[in-house]
Amino acid sequence: MSKDIKVALIGNPNTGKTSVFNSLTGLKQKVGNYPGITVEKKQGVCKLSRGVKAHITDLPGTYSLNTTSLDESVAVELLLNRNAPDFPDLAVVISDVENLKRNLLLYTQIRDLRIPAILVINMADRMTRKGISLDVEGLEKHLDTRIALVSTRKNTGIDHLKKLIENHRQIPSTPCVDISVIAPDYFEKLRKTFPKENLYKLWVVITQDVNFTPLQKDYPKTKQDFPARSRAELKRMQHRETILRYQYINGILKETYKVDWQAAKGLRASIDKILTHKVFGYLIFFLILLTIFQAIYDWSEVPMDFIDATFVSASEWIKDTLPPGVLTDLIAEGIVAGIGGIVIFIPQIAFLFFFIALLEESGYMSRVVFLMDRVMRPFGLSGKSVVPLMSGTACAIPAVMATRNIDSWKERLITILVTPFMTCSARLPVYLIIIALVIPDERFAGLSYQALTLMMLYLIGFVAAILSATALNRILKVPSRSFFVVEMPSYKMPLWKNVFYTVVEKTKSFVYGAGKIILAISIVLWFLGSYGFSEEFHKAPEIVQERVASQGLSEESKAYVADKIKEYRNSVRVGITPGPNTIALGSLQDSLQLLRTELEVRAINQEIASYRLEESMIGHMGKWIEPVVRPLGYDWKIGIAVLTSFAAREVFVGTLATIYSVGSDEEETIKNRMAAERKVDGQPLFNLPTGISLMLFYAFAMQCMSTLAIVKRETNSWKWPLLQLVGMTLIAYIAALAAYQILS
């Protein structure tokens, strides 16, 4: 056997297709214990013995070949098009041992397309606990195929599956069910009109709801003798087909599959009753969210401080070690400061992904989807929109793609348009740094105000999404039909390996994805902040010294000197005679005078750096946009950060870190730099009104070019991303303006 084998992995949603795919290929595609994770096909290679390779295509889950949504059609189209380059030599149909009956419906349909199909019964490790006994040999005999009993969690049965794939030529491609019995006359005419076509394939093409490009639905109608039927009639025939298939499946399972229902139900049903309860369900969800946000704050404080201090030390080390010059300054003030602005958030992002992965892996996320369906209905969305919206808490891009499993175009469009309101991980750095600056680090009943604020911001994003959905539901005049069926997967102990990979992969993509943009923007910003064309830029030291000589230090510098002296006074003990940690009363005045002189020199240097920054290229650009952002409480530096973060929200912190680094002659942590920023009147720049205004701006603004790109692709129109951009920016501006004006 020298030819490589093309294999399609197909099955109902949430049967563990991607886990089998990962086990076969050694790849690490995202998996989760709720339906709809895979919305487009993924490919990988599985090495078999004797140098044979199996090219595996992991297809999105589908309950049957009668597709209703775009993601399902991906799977069906591949199986219908024998000329497609990926058309499989073998279909590996993944089923879940607990839902075998339902899973076999799809299996029989694939067999009727005359595609050789192996049946994989996954989650075999749950059989004993669920009281399931299975006669595998009997089932193989009845279905005339080979079966692999697999547990991806325990990593059993995969080698057997590989063997079966390798010997795929022995798998028969005989059909299971003769569907012509549901309407003999109709199928006879069909057979005569298209003598060369597979009858069942024709039937699938005629009855599908989603248009396929190569196999157009209208193709059969081009034949004059085509026995056309009304849509309602076809649907009735489809129902008869389903009944016929279930009769066939029931007959087989009656002899081969036994369930002790006493063992199967019980605990799961009791837990579901509580977790999906009309009152307790929401309360528990709320408490889980609260715990997550509290833990994110409590657990990440130490690693964050460590990372922050490490970057400051790295910056200092570079300046001390490398020869002085432009490149050294660029690395120390531009690159290291910019990258530090994103790396510092790794602990919090990783904890967030860890908790999301736990919820997904345990099966709780499906219960959340069920709960949310009730909430969403009055707002024109269904539970099908919940999966994209929940995915939006990580990133809007896969979330927008996940809308492909929504069959109603109107509902899908609304979900695409409102998903970017959900608080994605890119907003997290902005929120975290602002919360740390403006919300007191105090607790109420054991809960920190900072964690509560973060949770409020997540809720604001969700409320904004559903309110916008209501408005769009009324405005958009698109005919729609919608239904929602969610599968409740079994509760499982999270597989730590999956959780670990999810956290690592997501954190890596967050850091690398945004990191490259931040690095590039930091470099450009450093140049713009370090060079200028005006005379004032080049004569900054003379101008500042002259000003200080005639008018004294600025209010900001005076506040800085006063703060430091106060800090010093509080840190020393004064005694009659000097001793360890004690300064003699007589020496206090001298040391204070010395400190004041030193601080004044530092303050003057700081004023020079700050003046140069204002007169630099970026300073002039910032002053140009300042009138627009001033009513929101922002200065020109924040204005520049808002502008650059249009590329990606997390660029905001990196931009400020670089700007403040250039505008300062001291190495400081990002948080301290931002905390030290003052307004002209000496008040802190990042106070409550400015902070709330900024957080609200980022809660609503469409600050992500990549999301716009995906929306354009998914809607195939510029109209919707532009509407999204203008609408969200306007809402953000108005909310930020109102917050600042009211609070100040």
Partner: protein
């Protein structure tokens, strides 16, 4: 006088600008070559 530090710094600036241009100006909306085929492909554009 232009030092080696200047040369390297400007090269880094050039690379950063090039990256940003390619990312957001030349091909900002990912219009990479469209795959031929049907709705199974990402850019089918038929819906």
């Amino acid at each position: 006088m232009v030092s080696w530090q200047h040369i390297l710094a400007y090269l880094i600036l050039g690379a950063a600008l090039l990256y940003l241009m390619r990312k957001f100006i030349w091909d900002p909306f990912g219009a990479k070559e469209k795959k031929k085929g049907g709705c199974g492909d990402e850019d089918c554009g038929c819906h």
